[in-house]
Amino acid sequence: MAALILRRILATFVVMTVVAVFVFGMLHFSPGDPAAIIAGDLATSQDVERIREKLGLNQPIWEQFVRWISNVLVGDLGTSIFSDLPVSALIAQRVEPTVALTLTTIVFSVLIAVPLGIVAAWKHGSLVDRLVMGFAVLGFSMPVFVFAYILIWIFAANLQLLPVMGYVSIFDDPGGFLRSIAMPTLALGVTYIALIARITRASMLEAINQDYIRTAYAKGASIPSILFRHALRNASVPIVTTIGVGIALLIGGVVVTESVFAIPGLGRLTVDAILRRDYPVIQGVILLFSGVYVLINLLIDIAYTLLDPRIRY
């Protein structure tokens, strides 16, 4: 089993290396002069030269890569072209709202989606099942920002219950935090809920048709006990995997949601950096998001290697 876990960790290293090469290479292998692309259309030739100098773009490409990667490995992601601050400092400033929004969304979505999926599987073919599945398809089809504006229209413009935008830190004012995070969480959660509800239903359906469920019925186990203790436990691996894989979806959604609700998080940082072509920041944020995503999925992998004896082959 230790060998299996070690293999997973090694595979993760390989993946992150590919990501790093890609993030680095994107700028250099794109058509045109990278310094001119970053400088933008209105730049003078001195501006372009200054950027070339600053980013070390006038050195051989492999030297640039070695320098960049050794800096990244010790946590130095470079310096923002726009604000002259270290990228890691910019990220540190912006990380709290994004972590808060992502965590509330994951908790909220799992609490809604898993019970929905269980009920749909238990009442397979019923009206409830159809409603849940209909909602799942609709949730997949509605882009985050469309749902966000529908929420704004209902709760901010018409009912005037919630603030349209902004973010209040949980450490400053927990009540204000909940009010400011409610709509973003709901908007960001819809696709995620749809995804998890669908996989929960599918894997619960598979579990419910097994012999041990019939045995549990026969010995007189109660319905909740059958659903949660017998079926859900056995159905949990694909559900947890999907919760992990779906985080990629959340990361994409965070960028959009933060933009809609003017939340000063990493998503805003990314969008601002892209509009200003602040390439060191773009590189840093993509590396960070991909790293977090890969790490979470590695942890999930390892967790169920340890928890589920069926996977130890």
């Binding site: 992150m16 990501v19 398809v137 469309v146 504006y149 960028v255 959009v256 998001f289």
Partner: protein, 297 residues
């Protein structure tokens, strides 16, 4: 004389085929709804000049931010442009991007997937590259790529295609890996068939069903990502009325003129819903094996 005998026969046959097609669709209402939604959007996009009531780019400063009325069905935006006509024209961008990305990702995914599935030497290398690409969230990868190139629809299509390719490659490779162990492939090899012939005549036809289903999901996701890119200001050039662009311009006025963001949003959702329903329906009919593992309506 002979023709006169054949003609009514042929007529009956095509009529029969039409009705059997209609009956088949009635038994698959999901596909029917998806086709109708997508068909309506296609008609709207192709015949946009007929459907629209105003010039989608003409500015009428005196008619700014009007609410929906008989004259302006979906109201007007902050420059007095007719939102209904802009939404109609916007369908063109979404459909062009959706179909182009689906086609490109399918061709690239098939080509790379077939080769990696069959040629073991390159498999490990290509799949590690694909794993790396998949570790970068699709929207981030797309906006990063677009930020490095000139803003144009072609570049938007390329930037959205690249993150979609790895999933297609994985799918094709998976199918190829199971197919290559099959008896009919051994038979072809022992008859002296060369690799390209085996790939094209024996393997590819067997990958079509799952690839079509995947292509429909790629199409849906591409339409959403294009809208997101445009909404964030890093997508379709702002002078072209795409749904994402209309919403980006209307976002400042959402509290006083919600129609500018809501109508394109509803159309966006309907198109994606149509494509997704079509995909779900096709998955259930083309590939019954998938039905159990992913769940369906």
């Amino acid at each position: 004389m002979a023709e006169a005998v054949i003609a009514p026969d042929r007529a009956r046959q095509t009529g029969g085929r039409f009705w059997s097609g209609a009956r088949w669709l009635r038994r698959h209402p999901i596909i029917l709804i998806g086709l109708v939604l997508l068909g309506l959007m296609l008609v709207m996009a192709v015949l946009a000049p007929l459907f629209s009531t105003h010039d989608p780019v003409r500015l009428t400063p005196t008619e700014r931010l009007r609410s929906p009325s008989l004259e302006h069905w979906f109201g007007t935006d902050h420059l007095g442009r007719d939102v209904y006509s802009r939404v109609i024209y916007g369908s063109r961008i979404s459909l062009i991007v959706g179909f182009s990305v689906a086609a490109l990702a399918t061709v690239l995914g098939l080509a790379i997937g077939l080769v990696t599935g069959f040629v073991r030497k390159v498999d490990a290398v290509i799949m590690r590259i694909m794993d790396g690409l998949m570790a970068i969230p699709a929207i981030l990868l797309a906006i990063a790529l677009i930020s490095l190139s000139e803003s144009s629809i072609e570049n938007v299509i390329i930037a959205i295609t690249i993150p979609e390719v790895p999933r297609m490659v994985r799918l094709v490779r998976g199918v190829v890996l199971t197919l290559r162990e099959q008896l009919f492939v051994d038979a072809a090899v022992s008859l002296g068939a060369k690799l390209p012939r085996i790939l094209i005549y024996h393997i590819t036809p067997n990958t079509i069903a799952p690839v079509i289903v995947q292509a429909s999901y790629v199409c849906a996701s591409a339409i959403i990502i294009e809208a997101i890119l445009s909404f964030l200001g890093a997508g379709t050039p702002p002078d072209i009325p795409s749904w994402g662009n209309i919403m980006a311009e209307g976002r400042t006025y959402v509290m006083i003129a919600p129609w500018i963001v809501l109508f394109p949003g509803v159309f966006l959702t309907l198109v994606v819903l149509g494509v997704n329903l079509l995909g779900d329906g096709l998955r259930d009919t083309l590939d019954p094996r998938l039905r159990r593992s992913t769940g369906s309506i």
